[in-house]
Symmetry: C2
Subunit: 213 residues, 2 copies
Amino acid sequence: MTAGDRAAERRAHLIGAVLDLIDGGGIPAVSMRAVATAAGVSLAQVQYYFRSKDQLIVEAFRHICRDVEGRAAAVGFDGPARSVLRALIDLWLPVDERLSRDARVWLAFSAEATTRPSLMSFAAAVDEELREAFAQILRRASESGELSPAADPVAAAAGLLAVIDGLVVQSLVLDEPERAGFLAPRVEAHLDLLFLSSREKGGGQGGVIEERT
Amino acid sequence: MTAGDRAAERRAHLIGAVLDLIDGGGIPAVSMRAVATAAGVSLAQVQYYFRSKDQLIVEAFRHICRDVEGRAAAVGFDGPARSVLRALIDLWLPVDERLSRDARVWLAFSAEATTRPSLMSFAAAVDEELREAFAQILRRASESGELSPAADPVAAAAGLLAVIDGLVVQSLVLDEPERAGFLAPRVEAHLDLLFLSSREKGGGQGGVIEERT
């Protein structure tokens, strides 16, 4: 293990402590001292790796973003756009304990960011990045004729991110076992609005059956 | 002024202090003592009107809900469903200082509720009520042929509330002057997905012009 590896490992250990603190008591539970105590290290060690409480919070949120990105890289992007999007969305929906923790940290971060300029710009940049990633997939779906002609890829990307964010906020005030059943059909219903059904794409036989002449 | 009026006025004064505290420092800024100080009354007076910190927070959030409901009652429900919905949505989008405060309080409340069962059920009940109110309007839109046949009123109501919640979260990390420009086109784009255009409803001449035979 190199010195760089060791430093990365220590930072990750401290970030883990920050995430647990936010999950338990929100952003106010985070202080340099509380992180030192939770991680079982000295205050000086926390100060060696992180400048301030704000940096701790931003790095903790960045860690969650990088984690989702890492898992997103394992999603195959070759299939139908709708399946690709669904697989990406499923990486984030809070349907188990770990994902719920991440979503709670995101929500606490979002609430805190509304009054702290240093967090605000980071939160806005993450949203922008996600909209762009969705738009890229939806542009491809538009070119391949999967997207409804009524949907503009850029507008649809913004709408999709909004739906996901809103559903996550709403699902977090439900008991965890109820969340999957709340989220899945609502995500599908929104994708139904954006994507043509196989029948509309001209592949189905429904139209023929319904013709009575 | 009756004794009842005076009590209502005092409660409202205390709730105003709670809202300002949440807006300035989030839920952790609220305590019985902090509210007494901010409102310029004794701790005993706060305790006379409110049992606990949780009750203060729930009542502050309920106050915002009642305020929106009150303004919603002034919206005429007779026009086209899309205009009615748009007018209701505009009561909530954080495009000025007062509405931004209300939205920040909602977001702080939502984040706090994820780990506090006493707040959780209230937050979930408010969401459910809003979905039902939207569904009622969308059912009428479906019957009158305004809604796209692809949209189910109940699913569309849930999607609409999710879009609004998500857009509000995202807009709160933008500078206030940017918010209206961020929100309005995205709300319209989502309503475009749900409602038929005048042309699709059979009123437009576009189809005739495009026929070449």
